[in-house]
Amino acid sequence: MPEWKKPLPTISGETKVFWDGCKKGELIIQKCDTCNDYQFYPRGICSNCWTTDIKWVHSTGRGKVWTYTITYQNRTPGFAEDVPYVLALVELDEGVKMFTNIIECDPKEVKIGMDVEVTFVKANNFITIPYFKPVS
């Protein structure tokens, strides 16, 4: 496997379930048992009602591009070689937005409102990263 030059996530006790899910090809997000709100990124507290009654639930892994930009310049190693790439905010079916890259398509094809689905890329033996691609 080639060396992963892009920055890698740091996994903590608070976020391990999410990253373990990615390794298994599952997008797992959080839903509060008290107020029923979904939240993203995962955290140990429901940011809405401040309880700790949080469930991990499977996302449909589908959503729509909320907005995006085609990045032509980024000096960070790994991304510098990758331009132009699409940085996007995707709104999942569950109603929460997450940052991602839209991959497996021509950057110029990306549109706001486009239907996308999650796809996973193995960065190394410990970490797999979720991305999104157009729904086929």
Binding site: Y41, Q73, L89
Partner: protein
């Protein structure tokens, strides 16, 4: 609430002229600026009781600055919420003075962003080295190649989609700032540009072109704030603080509509405290990290309806001679942007309210009330907004 309107005044200012200072230290630029600002006020080191500063590069910035200048402030504030930190400092200094804790405060800032070769907008997470990402939020964001420009470009893209805003309308902001920079001998870029120059230039992060992005310079400055009693003894016409408001905006756990920025929350309290209306504002200093920042800020400050910012900035309305002259020093887009720019908003607003440019094209005629709005962080992820309303009388 205690009425803070006229609770303190800006009595001294200094803008460091440098745009490139590889031989100076950041603390040195701050020190030089503080000394000159106190001279401007007719005050001395011994008058300063409050010290306010922010930095993205100096560790323990307030502590190190007090050490460097051998000061023993009894009120210290390092609030660091991005480029607009200094509007927050002004708000806090007002509160501390009105509460009687201190009589005089200094706000100062400097940066060597240019000579340090910091790619503020396009460096990505590696712009300050290659750090281990925090578990959150960094690990859910920086792995996708965020840049500062990109986080504003995403908001510009959605603004275009929802409201039909055009690249030409964004360019109008850059053109206006460049015209104003032409009147400022210290500005980094002074040659006039056209809308067509902007839209035909290199795209940095679609839809933002290079001239849609602020310049990178070195620089710094200082502001001296005094109680009404102390202000009476100062050399300059006091510039009164009429109203302040602070706000933060963030992802809201993935649920906030990011098209509304912190200005939406911060401007109400500021206008209410000041007891003024939008039509009373003679000029405004609106943080212009990117052209889209100005359009979004004008909308959420309430100068126009949501979605109408593109039209609002067109036809010269935000240029000198227009209905709402903006960033008459040339702004971050053309004059200077040393990492954070919030302090320069206060400096130029003060110069306008002092009528320092009387008899020249740069002066806003009969300038009595000015608004500053600092935005720090990034519109696409999380940011701060500080509104300040200043008055001559």
């Amino acid at each position: 609430m205690v009425n803070l309107n006229h609770g303190a005044a800006i009595v001294g200012i200094h803008e460091h002229q440098t745009r490139y200072a590889p031989d100076k230290s950041e603390l040195q630029i701050q020190g030089e600026s503080v000394i000159k600002a106190l001279e401007d006020a007719g005050l001395t080191k011994n008058d300063v009781e409050g010290l306010f500063t922010a930095s993205s590069t100096i560790r323990n910035s307030g502590l190190n600055l007090a050490d460097y200048l051998d000061m023993y402030p009894k009120y210290v504030d390092n609030t660091t919420v991005g480029g607009g930190s200094f509007e927050f400092h002004l708000s806090h200094a007002l509160t501390a003075i009105a509460a009687g804790r201190i009589k005089c405060a200094v706000i100062t800032y400097s940066s060597l962003a240019k000579s340090g070769g910091i790619s503020v907008g396009t460096g990505g997470v590696a712009r300050f080295g290659h750090p281990r990402l925090d578990p959150s939020p960094d690990s859910f964001e920086e792995i996708y190649g965020l840049t500062t420009v990109g986080l504003y470009a995403m908001i510009a893209r959605r603004h275009m989609e929802l409201f039909g805003t055009t690249s030409e309308q964004l360019a109008e902001v850059a053109v206006a700032m460049r015209r104003h920079a032409g009147l400022n001998p210290e500005a980094q870029f002074r040659d006039p540009i056209t809308v067509s120059d902007v839209v035909n230039s290199r795209v940095i992060s679609d839809p933002l072109h290079l001239p849609d992005c602020c310049v990178i310079t070195d620089g710094g400055g200082a502001v001296v704030i005094a109680s009404p009693e102390l202000a009476k003894d100062c050399k300059q016409t006091p510039v009164w603080i009429l109203g302040v408001g602070e706000a933060l905006a963030h992802q809201g756990a993935g649920k906030r509509d990011l098209m509304y920025i912190a200005a939406k929350q911060s401007h109400g309290p500021a206008f209410e405290m000041a007891g003024v209306k939008h039509s009373d504002i003679d000029m405004a200093m609106v943080y212009d990290s990117f052209t889209i920042t100005v359009i979004e800020t004008l909308e959420d400050l309430g100068f126009c309806e949501k979605g109408e910012g593109g039209q609002f900035v067109s036809n010269g309305r935000i240029q000198l001679g227009g209905e709402l002259p903006l960033n008459t020093d040339g702004g971050g887009l053309s004059s200077n942007h040393p990492g954070m720019r919030g302090i320069f908003l206060l400096l130029e607003a003060t110069r306008q309210l002092r009528h320092e440019f009387e008899g020249t094209e740069r002066q806003v005629p009969n300038c009595n009330i000015a608004l500053c709005h600092g935005t720090g962080g990034a519109l696409g992820s999380r940011h701060s907004g500080g509104t300040v309303i200043l008055g001559r009388n």
